[in-house]
Symmetry: C2
Subunit: 572 residues, 2 copies
């Protein structure tokens, strides 16, 4: 069954604290238009459809992970019941760019321009689905930001904006703005495999069809899940530089050639998984914020590169450093219009451990890293959530503190199912590093039909655990979890020898598994369930609701698919 | 609620493969006597009570963990329906000890003597609840073995034995045997705290009452759960020797004094948990084999001693060793009558890691180790199942292989709920090392009553995870898991400062937690549930049945207690 690949938003309705700016009488809005921007980029704002609240907005800044806060947008003008198209009917004051620029704080008001219009969005800031990132545009033009986050290119976003219009930009300043061409920062993104199921085009986020995923032990790079937070940067390998900071020896700068020749090449096979893998199952319990991943935001590849440990030692790392340093931060070369780069950090002991196997990888599956996977150099932190495996690596910083990036501090954390956006305190939870035990059924698909004449059903899937913990067993049930059988685990493709057992604590790669079971004679439908066990004997929780969390991460309950059994026509 | 502290056996009924030895016509048995040996030692054989099988025996060699196999004992003589007391009515042949001794194998027959009688137990070997350990007595007297495993001191065990009687031992040999006094090997066990809840007296296994357990962050040694597999050995600290073998430098022998003075004293606070903690909850799903532990086979203490790493380095450990060695084995000084010592092993990388914190501990909570906890030296392997924390340590062996002990190879492993004693292959599962995430409610007790006038209920408990993974959250529900609130975590007692955060991967100690919640106005009963999350975001499974396993280990589903709310009399 093809899952709906749409980004959902969490709709919230609560008391509105701030009175919004009064719109000009002639500016009406149509908040409840049924039109949709459509297109392939479905990481889109969604509408709130609770009739008891006539004017509500809740949304999602898709694909950025940058969702900090959001709010309820309530329109004071009761006449908005009559849905009308935006139209300008009254003359508005003319402002200069200088006047606009003087409004760049909540204290002085937050003004922005868009296509020659001037908007006072002060009251909207608290309601912005993308959080206070909106302040980056304060006093200036929205266009470069909206070019970066394509989610804004929708009619109803313009409708919301129109409510805040307070004037026009002087024609002279409009001309100046137009001379700065805001090009599409995604225009140089690479071509992608057409088989991928796209969650968001800009930034690009996609997963392979599940049935392809379990076809090969090593996932081909072309269909390895893609999880980008920003446009893919263009990096010239000849001029590429990796900076290593924070160590006693001062900054170390390495060219790609130096990284390849000064340090031994180390190869590991490691599975990467997005924290949001299987988020769609949480969305079925209650909507969460984030890309609506199916079960395939996980893939397995062979990575080669220099060991981070070796590079840190070359840069001056020694036991003294461990007295004050606790983290190793990574900065990507992918950045937004303000120059903010993607960033994350991992614990120092993982980074410097001989057994940590953290790589500065320049090869994936025996070839140069593809553009989508971090060319020319990315971090591979085996056993750790994908978000810390920073791509297009530009800088490494050894530090006492975690990365201060949004993605480390205010995203990629787990919370109690009782925690909502009113009560969440991001400081109260640790940044996700090691991931918990996981498994899923790749075939049959949910809703598939099996012929009775087949007599048996083959069930296939993957299983993996974080922290180097080896999957030691997968249990499969055909009756919703009442009875269980043990699946056969595989560490290679059909014609290949099984791989040697991983070293203790260094089981970085997944196991594929399969079981062939006779069709139960009486059953008309099967509820197939899988659950995996790692060598710490951690097991998957039974159900989704008790692990639900507002960001929809860490979705690792038993995976369930329903399959119908079709009786043979010959027997009728 | 006081849980039934009895050892249960798994009753199995299946086809009987071997025809048993024909009993003498005059020897009848009463298999279904309702009499019980009683006494405090309740680690006892249990009866099978399924009426469709008249003659069945299934049992448990309690407290040894040495249950390898068991069988169905079927009496061929149909007249046994008439239950009668054992009585000797016919003269039997006289055998010499020499003749008995010639029968010590399955090929030549397995004969034993008991109180002057001679028994051919060849056919019973496969059915022995304690597995092939019974062969240790082949050709000789049962008395010394039964003295060790007090579980045999029951009337119905004698009844079973009587069926196999084939003769009398010559009076001369009887006299010789009697000159060898078989003393009670448990007679020198230490005194224990009367508050402990005893699961088995010989060997001694007991847990504290749950409400005491959560009273102190550091469990007082006297009520720290006791888990002995054998009698407590008497070790003279002055002549104590620790042998370290398997390293290039040859054997290293250390006195207690040398252990204390040659190596730095290292102190950690670490929680130990028995693999069978909370087994009683699995028994409610379906009977398993093993001591029927409640929720308190877990405790937290401060341990001091030499680091195993330091001792191994002193004994010649170096990087070369890691080329061929994978395990470090431990042998206790506690032994059975054959001289077999308790044994276990841990992975080499845990043993030698600077961050592994494995201790050769000689102090517990600031004092010499108590006798029950391994005086004078035990291994403390933080983050690892109790069974590998070998007490009364006699020998350390660095080796390519795991310990060959029964407890490493054929016990303390987890299996699928679909695996039974017919299908179990102990080689198919890894020995338990790191334990999964765990938590339980210590107060209120199941079945407790709360007065409505109290208006709120305070819930307390513990939470811990293996492998040094820190508990980061405990969720508590009063409505069986529908809604959740987050408990407050505690790392110290009331008047003390909270302890500093553990180093990454080295969270060896539990967290206590509590939450005070208002009584729901309409509820007459609460189903209080807790579940914990560690910093790998592993969570406890929802229910017991899907993690049930034939040995009843790794019982870590959500813990649930039911509490009644009593309406105030004044309101009536």
């Amino acid at each position: 069954m093809l899952l709906l690949r749409r980004c959902h938003c969490l709709t919230r309705f609560g008391p509105l604290s701030a009175l919004r700016h009064q719109t000009s009488p002639g500016v009406a809005v149509r908040l409840w238009s049924s039109s949709s921007s459509g297109g392939e980029d479905q990481g889109s704002y969604q509408r709130a459809h609770t009739p008891s609240w006539r004017h509500a907005l809740a949304g999602l800044l898709a694909g950025t992970g940058a969702v900090l806060a959001y709010g309820l947008h309530q329109h004071k003008a009761e006449q908005a019941d009559n849905v009308q198209t935006v139209e300008k009917t009254s003359p508005l004051p003319i402002f200069t760019q200088e006047e606009v620029t003087s409004h760049r704080s909540l204290e002085n008001g937050v003004w922005v321009t868009y296509k020659g219009g001037v908007y006072d969005i002060t009251e909207f800031v608290a309601m912005h689905p993308g959080g206070d990132k909106i302040l980056l545009a304060a006093g200036g033009a929205l266009e470069p930001f909206w070019a970066l986050y394509a989610v804004h290119n929708q009619e109803h976003v313009l409708e919301i904006l129109s409510e805040y219009k307070v004037g026009e930009l002087s024609s002279e300043d409009v001309k100046k703005q137009q001379s700065v061409v805001s090009s599409d920062p995604y225009s140089s993104d690479p071509e992608r495999h057409p088989g991928l199921r796209v969650n968001s085009l800009k930034p690009f986020n996609a997963e392979p069809p599940p049935e392809l995923l379990s076809d090969t032990y090593i996932t081909p790079s072309a269909i390895f899940f893609k999880r980008n937070h920003l446009p893919v940067p263009q990096v010239d390998p000849a001029s590429y530089q990796l900076h290593v900071e924070g160590l006693p020896g001062g900054e170390l700068t390495l060219s790609l050639e130096e990284l390849k020749t000064r340090f031994p090449k180390h190869t590991i096979t490691a599975t990467l998984q997005c924290a949001g893998n299987r988020r769609s199952e949480m969305n079925k319990v209650k909507q969460v914020k984030g890309l609506n991943w199916g079960i395939a935001a996980i893939s397995n590849a062979t990575w080669s590169g220099a060991r981070l440990r070796d590079v840190l030692l070359a840069a001056g790392y020694g036991p003294d450093v461990a007295q004050w340093a606790c983290h190793v931060q990574f900065e990507g070369l992918d950045k937004d219009v303000t120059g903010t780069t993607y960033g994350a950090s991992i614990p120092l002991n993982k980074a410097v451990s001989e057994e940590g196997d953290v790589l500065l990888a320049y090869e994936m599956n025996g070839e140069n890293l593809p553009a989508d996977h971090g060319f020319p150099v990315r971090v591979v932190v085996p056993g750790i959530v994908g978000a810390r495996n920073v791509k297009w690596l530009g800088k490494i910083i050894v530090s006492a503190e975690e990365s201060s990036s949004h993605w480390q501090q205010n995203d990629y954390k787990g919370f109690s199912p009782g925690t909502d956006w009113d009560t969440v305190d991001f400081k109260s939870a640790p940044a996700i590093q090691e991931l918990p035990i996981q498994s899923a059924i790749t075939t049959p698909a949910d809703g598939a039909v099996v012929d009775r004449s087949a007599e048996e059903v083959m069930v296939k899937g993957y299983a993996w655990s974080g922290g180097g913990r080896e999957v030691v067993r997968v249990d499969v049930s055909l009756d919703g979890g009442k009875t269980w059988q043990v699946a056969q685990l595989k560490t290679s493709d059909k014609e290949q020898e099984p791989r040697p057992s991983p070293l203790p604590g260094r089981a970085w790669a997944w196991k594929l598994w399969e079981v062939t079971a006779p069709l139960p004679p009486e059953a008309q439908e099967l509820e197939i369930v899988c659950k995996a066990v790692d060598n710490s004997y951690n097991m998957q929780p039974d159900t989704v609701a008790p692990i639900w969390n507002l960001r929809g991460v860490l979705s690792n309950a038993w995976h369930r698919v329903k399959v119908k059994i079709r009786e043979d026509e010959s027997e009728e």
